[in-house]
């Protein structure tokens, strides 16, 4: 009987040493602090007026003061972005799953997807208002239009990336389409799906804000920015920007975290 290969020892996962975490966290922190200091100094040195570019300290204190409202508005924007992503992403993924075996169909939809990606989505915002009303409906529609092609493309490429030998293996087991799909194509598509999601969550957030900017309630980040920008309340605008960034980045990090957890088995994620 053969014993275990010594080769294996090198492959076993070890916890990351603390210093490697530090190497990831410290440089951005330094850059952040330096940027804030530089920002303050520039305003000081060139006496930049408050309505053009406020000081970070001012933005921070206003952010804390308005936190309750910003969270409420952020939640509304987030809900629009989330529902749009759910709808658009769902359509994109479903189309990819239906067509990935039929080359001409996938290619045809792929051309539409490519066109949609090139279309400046914001130009569609006024039209969705006509069709779906000035409130959430139109904004959800715009977000879906922006996110569907992204998830379609990534899912399609992922589903098609299934290893040729593995497909033959499933065939040799006489496994049906459905089993092959779940056991083989879906796992292969997952890494691509997550890459697409990382892009789509950010895009969904931006598009939601842009379409809110085009009209409707003020009780969301885009509406608030529109209102405050019209009144040249630059500090308030900046607090909304900060809130939007925080929400966007945390969504990105949540997706990245799920990605790391779900794809623990993936060779690219080791060590």
């Amino acid at each position: 009987m053969t014993t275990a290969d010594p080769v294996l020892d090198s492959g076993i996962e070890r916890p990351r040493p603390w210093s490697r975490h530090a190497a990831v966290v410290i440089p951005p922190l330094l850059v952040f602090v330096a940027a804030i200091v530089l920002w303050e100094l520039i305003i000081e040195a060139f006496e930049i007026q408050r309505f053009l570019l406020p000081r970070p300290s001012e933005i921070a204190s206003m952010f804390v003061e308005d936190f309750g409202r910003l969270i409420r508005q952020g939640r509304n924007t987030l809900s629009v972005a989330g529902r749009g992503l759910l709808l658009g992403g769902g359509i994109g993924i479903a189309l990819a799953a239906i067509t990935f075996r039929t080359r001409w169909m996938a290619e045809g939809i792929g051309i539409y997807a490519a066109v949609l990606k090139a279309v400046p989505v914001i130009s569609l915002a006024p039209l969705t208002v006509v069709w779906f009303g000035i409130e959430a409906g139109s904004k959800i529609a715009t977000v879906s239009i922006a996110t569907a092609p992204i998830l379609f493309t990534y899912t399609l490429v992922g589903l098609r990336s299934a290893d040729a030998n593995a497909q033959e293996l499933m065939r040799s087991y006489a496994a049906g389409h459905f089993r092959t799909f779940w056991n083989l194509h879906v796992p292969y598509a997952l890494p691509f799906f997550f890459s697409g999601m990382k892009i789509a969550v950010t895009i969904a957030m931006i598009v939601a804000i842009i379409s809110e900017y085009f009209g409707g309630s003020f009780e969301n980040l885009g509406g608030y920015i529109r209102n405050e920008a019209n009144n040249v309340h630059t500090v308030e605008v900046w607090t909304a920007i900060v809130m939007a960034c925080l929400l966007g980045i945390s969504q990105y990090m949540i997706v990245a975290g799920i990605d790391r957890y779900v794809l623990r088995w993936h060779p690219s994620k080791r060590g």
Binding site: P27, W104, I111, A118, P126, L127, I206, T234, I249
Partner: protein, 291 residues
Amino acid sequence: MSAGASPEIAVPLAARDRLLTDERADRLRSASARITLVLILIALFLGGWELLKWVTDSPRTTLPHFHEVVNYLFSVNSQGDRVWLDTGRNLRLTFIEALTGLAVAIVAGFAAGTLMALSRWTGRGIMPFVIGAQTVPIVAIAPALVIWLGTGWETKALIAGFLAFFPIAVSTARGIGDVSQDSLDLMASYGASRTEVFFKLRLPSALPYVFTGLEVAAAFSVIGAIVAELPVGSQDGIGVVILTSQQYFSLQPESLFAAIGGACVLGGAMVGMVRIIQIVVLRGHRAQELS
């Protein structure tokens, strides 16, 4: 040359020529198949438009006939201009803004991406912010910049460039950094200098990545230019046309559709341009799957 390699070499010239022509014929066949597919897709789009109008029984104020939009394009507006000429003029301005912005973004994004990839600490320090900055709502920055720098086309080009910068920087950093250790070792075994490693290895292998980012950037530059035209004070550009047609929508719904159509064509043209350059530049590279 070893004898073992001879079968490949010994393919008679005539046969090789035949293979080449076959390949050309194949390419031609696939090209014509693609054109047919695109024509079918356009027909499907127009058919779908009219079908949607018929099924939902939409009035002209929700969804005009396609031919009504085309008719509108050839009509004369209140200033006595042909509408399509006027739209074209505005599109040209937005195109110049987007293109200038894209050019600036290519230079700046490529430089920043290279720097991030080659200097580990700079990369680690800046990369999170480059990714984070993509979540900045451009609509919020644009008004401030317009107040600051004026309503000239240069401001709009700058905003377009701001939006296009990030995808280029990120994809360049990824491409320049993503070189296998084996290739680096090979270059080292030749005694290659840093410059040679960059130009002979990193740059060529980064190109497919860069172009993927460039395509996104091209689409973003158009969005940036349009957003920049939205704040009060702008007179020209397709963004302004969209805003005005939105205001007069109930009187002249066709104008909004025409304006949006124009913006879509502009976006398609920018991305298409990048694609064509990509195909020419990357002829030798393996086809990139994700684009």
